[in-house]
């Protein structure tokens, strides 16, 4: 959307929280912005990358992104990085010491918590990092605030020489609202000041800085007491006063328009004195915070009585339909029965792999293997754990497939002695945090076969480029890594590295069977691109000849969403065994002709379809 870049000052724009953060980062005169893609934060850097008067990059992982931002701050530039909640776990090593050095140019870290877990492996509350690292946390409640608080975060960072966390949630990142924007400010870096006592954190230099860090925290707390980012809204119904932050504020205002509210924008360090004064004006206090009882615990420790997680859930979003019954119970009122129809039971519709996805061949092959432990990782290919493949046994964190596979190999007893250990990891995840794990496998002589699925994209987050594509965030040519050479350099024998076309099922099956038999580290690289990115070329689509289909259902096990069962039946085999039959058709308009389903079809019932005339839409 180029409108966001060309918008004049004081334009009224319809922006998502991510758009608004990006616009404000640009307006702040930021010189460097880095991120690793991760839902729900991905779009921030995507939007920022369209501005060409600052350096933007996809970094290899969140820790590197934060270090890039810190380096820019050290030379006095304004710097920014974005990540999803679990990304800050990765980056935390850098965070926990950069809070000791402090920053020079303003440094803002946008962290997007996936409250409600739309696309994450866990739900965690990044506000903890503010307490742990003694850095300020700002919590916008909608797109407009995402914009204004991003600008405020840079000012706060420079005034107190501290990194600032901008805490977002899915319901900020992916909600669009009306935002008033401004213009880009000039911001010239002040230059690097050589000072080892400031920037070289050895114990002798770091120790004297710890009291400075705590003094800074106290100063920010004093600022929080007077900051306009924290505000009190009066209300006539003083039975309950709400203390809240982030999107929960909007939900509270929606559900209880007459109640007094203390809204926290600069929520860490918490302005406990102001909150205490607010509490004294109402009969009781309810803290509405997503997700952990952080503020509640701090209020109670400060002797301020309040309710919180005794009546509200510790999991998920605190939308009005969650708040209303909880507050009714707190007030001793009867919870009204809803007037609308009750939700109906409908089959689940989990995300699926795409039509012709190169991972389909991998998981079909894995699903046909017996006695195999499959250590999985994070990406589209995590879907291999689902139907019909059921061919992924673990998923924990980025790159974890490697270490877990080695641990399974070393830890297994008699019961698993005959099993093969396979690790499955995507190209981007491998570079993010998997390479070290593979090095551990080779160094410690692990008997693990690694399936490295190189689809030349960060697929799950929308097909971003990575070092395996040889293109940067702007799609421009840059250094391109060679996965086979990396694996060899990490200690995998050259003979144990194979590059295989995942659409060639017999070849893939043979490679897997052979490599899992050899008791040393091996890597099978699949090398076909994601079907959602521009270099994917669809070919002639297929159809099923109805009279030839025997209902064997082999093609259904490939798991391609273009294959549909038209009718079911049963057949009694000569052995007396009854088998289920599934007769199929192919949705020809969706089929891109990958040919995976053709290979397991014994009666050769799947043939090329006649070309269909369609209006051609141009893809973005």
């Amino acid at each position: 959307m180029s409108a966001i870049q060309s918008a004049p000052a004081a334009a009224r724009m319809f922006l998502s929280g991510n758009d608004a953060v990006a616009r404000a980062v640009w307006e702040a005169g930021t010189r460097v912005a880095a991120a690793y893609p991760g839902t729900p934060s991905t779009e921030i850097l995507e939007v920022l990358s369209r501005y060409r008067d600052l350096h933007t990059e996809w970094s290899i992982n969140e820790k590197v992104a934060l270090e890039v931002a810190l380096g820019a701050s050290m030379v006095g530039a304004r710097a920014f990085c974005a990540m999803k909640h679990v990304g800050l776990n990765v980056a935390s090593d850098a965070l926990m010491t950069m809070t000791v050095t402090g920053t020079e140019g303003g440094l803002v870290i946008a962290v997007a918590d996936d409250v409600g877990m739309s696309s994450s492996q866990n739900e965690q509350d990044s506000r903890y990092w503010g307490r742990f690292a003694h850095v300020p946390v700002l919590e916008p409640a909608d797109s407009q605030e995402a914009y204004t608080m991003t600008l405020a975060a840079f000012e706060l960072s420079e005034r107190f020489k501290t990194p600032v966390i901008l805490r977002l949630t899915t319901r900020i990142c992916h909600v669009k609202g009306v935002v008033q924007t401004g213009e880009r400010q000039a911001f010239e870096p002040t230059g690097f000041v050589k000072d080892p006592r400031h920037w070289v954190m050895v114990p002798g230099n770091a120790k004297p800085r710890l009291p400075l860090m705590f003094a800074r925290e106290a100063a920010v707390r004093a600022e929080a007491e007077v900051s306009p980012l924290n505000m009190q809204i009066d209300g006539s119904d003083r039975r309950i006063g709400f203390i809240t932050s982030g999107p929960a504020f909007m939900h509270v205002r929606e559900a209880f328009p007459d109640s007094p509210v203390f809204k926290l924008g600069l929520s860490c360090p918490a302005p406990l004195e102001s909150l205490g004064r607010f509490a004294a004006t109402v009969d009781s206090v309810l803290v509405v915070e997503e997700t952990e009882p952080l503020l509640e615990t701090e209020l109670k420790a400060a002797g301020i009585a309040c309710h919180g997680k005794d009546v509200l859930p510790r999991i998920g979003e605190l939308a009005p339909d969650v708040l209303e019954p909880a507050v009714a119970r707190l007030r001793g009122e009867i919870v009204a029965e809803p007037e609308h129809v009750v939700p109906q039971q409908v089959f689940p519709r989990p995300p699926t792999m795409c039509v012709a996805c190169p991972h389909l061949g991998v998981y079909y092959t894995l699903s046909q293997m017996r006695n195999v432990l499959i250590s999985g990782d994070i990406g589209c290919y995590t879907l291999g754990a689902g139907h019909p493949w059921n061919a992924l046994d673990t998923c924990i964190s980025m790159g974890a497939s490697m270490g877990m596979a080695l641990g399974m190999d070393k830890g297994r007893g008699k019961v698993d002695a005959n099993k093969k250990v396979v690790a499955v990891i995507g190209d981007s995840t491998f570079m993010h945090m998997g390479m070290q794990g593979l090095l551990d496998i080779t160094w410690n002589r692990g008997n693990v076969t690694v399936l490295l699925l190189d689809n030349r994209a960060v697929g799950m987050t929308g097909g971003q480029d990575n070092p395996g594509t040889g293109r940067d965030i702007h799609g421009e040519e840059t250094a391109r890594v060679d996965f086979a050479k990396i694996c060899e350099a990490l200690g995998v024998k050259k003979d144990r590295i194979r590059v295989v076309d995942p659409y060639q099922l017999p070849v893939l099956f043979k490679a897997l069977r052979e490599e899992t038999k050899i008791e040393e580290p091996s890597v099978i690289i699949t090398d076909r691109p994601c079907v959602l990115i521009d270099h994917y070329k669809p070919t002639k689509s297929y159809m099923v000849m109805e009279d030839r289909c025997t209902g064997c259902g082999n093609c259904v096990e490939v798991g391609c969403p273009a294959i549909h069962v038209t009718r079911r039946g049963k057949e009694v085999k000569a052995s007396g065994k009854e088998v289920d039959l599934s007769f199929v058709r192919i949705e020809t308009s969706a089929c891109t002709g990958c040919g995976l389903c053709v290979q397991p079809c014994a009666p050769e019932a799947i043939v090329h379809a006649e070309p269909v005339q369609t209006i051609q839409f141009v893809r973005k």
Partner: protein, 202 residues
């Protein structure tokens, strides 16, 4: 409190639910409404459940439509409309594409697709206008026009003239693609007529 219009659009990842809601939002914003639009994106483009909430009025606080609050439910897929039927307020209206997208879990026999989702919705007492937007789009030459058929269908159920929404749809294609403008204009009108019942017999 000022009246807020709540529109819930639901369907399956890849159908264009989010784009359609974006166009509805553009129409509302062109009239000066405050508005918020929210959806759960993430994995939804992989054939999963997608809902998009649009709220507009004088001032909009929470972006979420709650169960029993939607004025209009725009169902891009029949079973999805049934799944989200409880979001309609008493007296609200559902516009449902009877076209089906059968997921792999149904294909492999783990679950059944409802025999008649629209009949089930009506049995619950919901007001449903049902039509085959998928077939109408295919007849016009591209299944992706289903999106515009659905917008056309909803255009006479909004608190502003249908032409505002139609112009927002056509503005997407600008002047550079006259064939797409015409195809979308036709799709929009087919959707409008489908709700009026004129196209049901065809």
């Amino acid at each position: 409190m000022s009246k807020i219009t709540n529109i819930l659009v639901c369907g399956v990842g890849g159908q264009g639910v989010m784009t359609a809601t974006e166009i509805l939002a553009e129409a509302a914003i062109s009239l000066g409404f405050d508005l918020k639009k929210t959806e759960v994106a993430g994995m939804s483009q992989r054939g999963g459940v997608v809902t998009s909430h649009l709220r507009f009025g004088t001032v909009v606080l929470s972006p979420q439509i709650l169960p029993g609050e939607a004025d209009l439910l725009v169902g891009f897929e029949a079973a999805e409309a049934l799944r989200w039927g409880h979001m309609l307020r008493p007296g609200g209206v559902a516009l449902v594409n009877v076209g089906r997208i059968v997921p792999p879990v149904v294909n492999i026999g783990l679950f059944d697709y409802p025999a008649d989702p629209v009949a089930e919705m009506r049995a619950l007492g919901l007001t449903v206008h049902a039509f085959d937007a998928t077939s109408l789009a295919v007849e016009l030459g591209n299944i992706r026009l289903g999106n515009t058929v659905m917008l056309g269908a909803s255009s006479d159920r909004l608190p502003f003239p249908a032409e505002v929404l139609r112009d927002a749809v056509l503005a997407r294609f600008g002047t550079r693609k006259p064939d797409l403008v015409e195809a979308n204009r036709a799709a929009f009108e087919l959707g409008r007529r489908a709700v009026a019942g004129e196209a049901l017999a065809a």
